[in-house]
Subunit: 468 residues, 2 copies
């Protein structure tokens, strides 16, 4: 377990704070119930839980602004909360304070089908959004696996399986409504596809993990559902061959929609968890989007490349049912890994490297895993150069946790040394702070300057991204 | 003419500043020659020229850092200069100071063909870059028309004809080396295709127009030259039909590489200037990239859509020579407009609106142009919802300039009211400052806070983006 560093005391007047919040909100919008507070103190990861002092449930941007003003008055920390599917302890209230649960801000505000954009409140989940727009032939592709909120995905710069084709939240957020530390409400971005008007505040808040302000509304790009979609599963004699097939596919410019690697440990886990019978070998899951001929062309190209690397069983399907079963199994990979060892917790990593370094990075990491003796399925959005080890560990075994920490440290530094990043999509939270400086050097001081400018009292999700 | 607002005096010790610069640079790297200073005080637009006190020609990031430290010591403004093709007075030394000409920082530092990325010094022009990487089957698509430097394109968040398919500089810059106001050197971004590690400083500097720091090196995404490319020219009975063809093409998700509108005034101008004989009617120029079948498929789809709107003469060619002639004429559109009225200057606008509003925006604007009595060819990257009026005016005629100003004011506010932007790609410079607040409201105060944090003495390209 990563224990939270000792935090400075804030001497928060909790009863006064709660009373002030109750004054501006309805009774059922403010809770100090221990169970509710506990549920808001942790995410899905192994990180230690830190319950907030109070949880609020705003229903509008104006209410969030009013909450921020009360928080400023009392010097209280503010931690936005979506559905708690983050993986680096993002929602932990390290210094106590107010958890702002965005769950009631779950409205799709406006769909512009003609312009392929939509405006949603931050608490809308990606599945809810896709269900809402499906009938209009539209979809929102960013898919981190969990049914996260759009607000949380924006705050962590999420991506996932479709990013190789459609980009990440960075590329797909057109604009934001943000409540600042002092309660000011600003609008960033706009509805046009491009703009050269002033600083790109949208991109500054995307990935800021709640440390600069509270994202309350998001305008997103949408896409028309492709005319044709097809998926394929292929397995390989060894993991190097699978990765080299990925590298060549990307370098050839094949516009795959998804290209996911699962190692033999992960395949075994999902076979057991999802009652499937994939060959227990390094495997790639593909998805192709386009016109009928485009999809056939892409598939043929990949088949050709894979053949050079001993690919077998390139099982292609354009049936939605088969596709859904395959991707559901992929999405359940984290839970499938956990099920290998009942009672264990998952410690997922998410380095990302330039595609040409991916084979080296994975092979060195697999050797390191073998030496560590740890149970770690490997799965990844390899088209982006991004992969996950998920260390399945007993968090109460200090020796095992130390081995896990050493493994993840080496992995992060390996990726950074290859020109990559310690986190492709999960964010820094409070779990990856030591790597930020290794990756960005003197630029971290500039990030801190921006943080201090917008949050001089360090009350916006304190202890995340930066230790101070 | 837009006269520069009166500027506060800085009481700059110019002889002392020049002597200090001569101490850290070679003799031929520092110039106070009047002709050289004049050339660095203006761009290609109608904006008034303001010569700097001194021009320096650094050859490395370290030299830029040393220059920044001298500038800080003397309280001198610093204005980065590429090749002077900006259009909103970006390079004008409104408060005097140092123009940093990046022309000698013209090296391609590193090409990673396997990862489709490249690192260049800021003074490399887009044509020089493309010439350098051509033999490796690679290209950099962002094409604002002029042969601008990559540094200038980054600083203004440039886009141009290919943006509808490949995005703008926002999407294609992977990382930067930046020299800050106090001389600190930072690296932003990295080589991996995505990262969730900390604030997106790269996107903060892209489009910051030299007001936050000096961009000295840029890492860019590259693309493989498509297997097939084809172009087509089509004309229409009226401009509404042409624009509706564009709207339907984009809404249908056809991945056109370029889709440009030229009105009959602009077509007449390029016929004369480039000795061509296009029908003098509203016209679209298309380009398609992809596989052979993909390009044929895209072209067929556009032909089908256009037919519904009376499109004629869909002249398709896959000959590189014909394509180049057509795009050269398109790129010369600004100069062709100027040639309609010898001695005149060009006042180009560049609003961008959501695609569904494009027809309304253009039709209302054309009516407004007719009422104004001004000569204004219209051309645009309409797939993005972006178009240019280029007002061809006698800058010394105050009455005509006032009519032009009124027309551009109405156009900017029309675009903003439609959910668009006052500037799709040229930037704010000192010409569009009044529109920034109209577009971004209270978010402008946040932009100013960031500016003050990184440039407390307001020495980095002062008077651009913000008046103060």
């Amino acid at each position: 377990m990563t224990a939270a560093a000792p935090r400075p005391q804030r001497n928060l007047n909790v009863p006064g704070l709660v009373a002030a919040l109750q004054k501006i909100l309805k009774a059922d919008q403010v809770s100090t119930n221990a169970g509710i507070r506990d549920r808001h103190g942790h995410d899905e990861s192994y990180h230690e839980s830190h319950a907030p002092d109070v949880v609020v449930f705003p229903e509008s941007t104006e209410e969030v602004s009013a909450i921020a003003k009360v928080a400023a008055e009392f010097g209280a920390p503010v931690i936005p909360f979506g559905v708690g599917t983050s993986l680096e302890g993002h929602v932990a209230a390290l210094d106590g304070g107010i958890s702002i649960d965005m769950g009631r801000m779950n409205k799709v505000i406006e769909v512009n089908a003609d312009d392929l954009d939509v405006k949603v409140q931050a608490g809308v989940t990606r599945k809810a959004l896709n269900a809402y727009i499906k009938d209009q032939g539209l979809f929102f592709p960013i898919d981190p696996g969990a049914d996260a909120t759009i607000g949380g995905m924006t705050a962590t710069r999420a991506s996932g399986t479709n990013a190789v084709r459609y980009g990440t939240m960075r590329e797909n957020v057109l604009g934001l409504t943000v409540v600042l530390a002092d309660g000011r409400i600003i609008q960033t971005g706009g509805r046009s596809r491009k703009s050269a008007a002033g600083y790109d505040l949208t991109r500054l808040f995307v990935g800021s993990e709640g440390t600069l302000g509270i994202i309350t509304e998001i305008r997103l790009r949408l896409y028309g559902v492709p005319e044709a979609m097809a998926a394929a599963v292929a397995n390989f004699p060894d993991i190097g061959s699978a990765v080299n097939t990925v590298i060549r596919t990307i370098q050839a410019g094949v516009p795959v929609a998804r290209i996911e690697l699962l190692d033999e440990v992960q395949i075994d886990a999902i076979n057991k968890y999802s009652k499937l019978n994939f060959a227990v070998r390094p495997t790639l899951f593909f998805e192709f989007h386009g016109t009928e001929t485009g999809v056939a062309e892409q598939s043929a190209l990949v088949n050709e490349i894979g053949a050079e690397f001993g690919m077998s069983d390139f099982n292609w399907t354009s049936k939605a049912e088969d596709r859904n079963k395959m991707w559901q199994a992929r999405h359940d990979a984290f839970y499938a890994g956990l099920a290998l060892r009942p009672g264990a917790k998952g410690w997922p990593t998410d380095v990302c490297v330039p595609i040409s370094r991916l084979a080296n990075c994975i092979l060195e990491t697999k050797a390191d895993v073998a030496a560590s003796g740890l149970l770690t399925p490997l799965v990844g959005h390899v088209g982006d150069g991004n992969f996950h080890l998920c260390i399945i560990l007993n968090p109460d075994d200090a020796e095992e946790a130390a081995r896990a920490k050493a493994l993840t440290d080496r992995l992060a530094h390996r990726a950074i040394a290859m020109g990559g990043t310690c986190t492709g999509e999960h964010g820094i939270g409070y779990g990856k702070i030591p790597f930020l400086e290794a990756e960005h050097g003197s630029a971290v001081a500039v990030m801190r300057q921006l943080k201090t400018t917008l949050d001089p009292d360090n009350r916006m999700n304190p202890g995340k991204i930066f230790r101070a």
